[in-house]
């Protein structure tokens, strides 16, 4: 066999043994990023009776504001704490799509997890949505299931901008969001690190969320644990909801 024939055979062999699927789904060469695969039954629905109850005012949490169309192969979650798995609940603003699934990382200790897959059945439908109409709420659950009680929330890495964007379901009430420098919501009584009044979210039908709260972030070098308080006011009274957050160090933000 001459050299060129050997080279051809080597190339064909490499093609046959290469992993199938688009290259974006392969293990990322970036040492900070790991692919996170869904585990268990994949639960998602589109325009049918929702399989997951909305229930919570916190619908999405992300670093920066995404623009353009939703890239369903590119959603990355910053996980700045040691966690075997995370739960990811996602929804479109019009309420037609909802999903909640558990993901485990291929490689332990990486601060960024790329979700694979974000959707199994509705790639075409979701690709028609804009980033601003898609909410992702990711959290490290306190127990085995995907119960959000006591969970530590981690943000989606959405795009440019040094701010934390909270997408909330207030049911048309006035909303404020405040960050406190402690992981325990019960202790979050001191001065807020950041506090903003929320704005109406987009011009899509406001079914899953109706407010967006853009919180400026402090700039620590290390990852930080905070608590988020959402307060809604309809004039007749206030309702407050507390959540625990873990945000990545500045160097790991987009």
């Amino acid at each position: 066999m001459d050299a060129s024939a050997a080279l051809r055979l080597a190339v064909i062999g490499a093609m046959l043994t290469a992993p199938s699927g688009p290259p974006a789904l392969a293990q990322s060469p970036d040492p900070a990023v790991t692919v996170a695969h869904s585990v268990g039954d994949f639960r998602e629905s589109y325009d049918t009776a929702a399989k997951v109850a909305a229930g919570s005012p916190l619908v999405g949490l992300q670093l920066g504001t995404g623009t353009g169309r939703l890239g369903v192969d590119e959603l990355q979650i910053a996980v700045p704490l040691a966690a075997p798995s995370i739960c990811v609940s996602s929804a479109t603003q019009d309420g037609r799509y909802a999903a909640i699934n558990r993901y485990e990382a291929e490689a332990a200790g990486r601060p960024v997890w790329r979700l694979e897959p974000v959707t199994r059945a509705y790639q075409r439908e979701l690709s028609g949505y804009g980033m601003e109409t898609f909410a992702v709420r990711a959290y490290v659950p306190a127990g085995d299931g995907c119960a959000a009680r006591g969970a530590v929330h981690v943000p989606l890495l959405a795009g440019e901008g040094d701010h934390l964007l909270v997408l909330a379901n207030s049911r048309s009430r006035r909303g404020t969001a405040a960050l406190f420098a402690t992981l325990s919501p019960a202790a979050a009584t001191g001065e807020a690190v950041a506090s903003v009044r929320c704005e109406p979210a987009g011009e899509s039908a406001r079914i899953a969320f109706d407010l967006r709260c853009e919180l400026p972030l402090p700039e620590p070098a290390q990852s930080q644990e905070l608590s988020l308080r959402l307060t809604f006011d309809d004039g007749f009274g206030l309702d407050s909801y507390d959540y625990r957050l873990a945000l990545p160090a500045r160097a790991d933000r987009p």
């Binding site: 909305a54 229930g55 019009d94 048309s172 109406p200 899509s204 039908a205 309809d234 009274g237």
Partner: protein, 325 residues
Amino acid sequence: MPTDPEPSTGPTGGGLRRRLSARAARAARWAVTHPGPSVPLLALVLTAGFLLVVTLLPRKPAFVFVEAQTETLLYRVARPEVAGLPLVDATVRTDGETATVATGLLQPAEGALVRYRWSPAAIAVELSVRQGSAGTLVVDEEERPLPAWAVAVFPHPTSADSPAARPLPIAGPAEIGAEFGAPLAPRPGQRRVTGLMRGGEVQVFGRAVLWFNDDALYPVTDFPLPAGGRLTGDRPLADEAGSERLANWYGLARIGDEGFQVNATTETDSLRLHRPGVREAETFGIGLLTRLFNDPGLAAITIFVVVFTVAMQMLADWLPLWRGK
């Protein structure tokens, strides 16, 4: 020596006219000798010309009458003079200050967002602006400026004689209702968050465009408002720059047993309904054909053209018969 009456001056002037008239004559000859293709072609040109003239007529925005029952509505104050609200024993609360009970006139500032919210026991009126003062509270001839956000809550008026029983005004671009969205898990002792639009009807009237109809209103269409939606203009109300171009609404909201009974009018060609089940809003537009068949002046012209065409066709068919006699 005879002179040339129309000396050729190149591509302009009489030469061009002659060439054009020669071409027109050739086209006319072709149309007469080829009736098969020329008749539909000429009919198409005439129809397109008629529609073009109708399209180019000056458009006047439709007069829209909205009747709705809703638990909340939002509007941006365009006419502060009519946006004032008499308060009787209302609890007025602002950011960071203790609530006070006041009887007086709540006067929203121009450009402020005013939200009315109904609950089974009380009414809340929320004023907000991004920066500056959302309005004033006039108590005993004293004007107390309000901060950028304030809310006044008062119980349902028990007597029709009370100043608080006056219907709540709407004087600017408005949004009615809030989407029947995902519910929140209730907590012990929590109240229901109100905001539902229970339904209603929109009636659209056009304004005649031709001079001899003198801006007369004519009914165009009406459509029901489904419960659980949000009716808006064609731009976001929260966007201050955008909402300046929105049409003003004028009307009132009467306090009822199940929500506000809203009666309001606006002049616009576009309304949007955001409702559960769809991503984009439904847009109610008033198109060319709707006008063509409803505007009294245009309808008369349309009928004239149709009858004239039919009459011409009939006469053209009958004349050879008479000539044959």
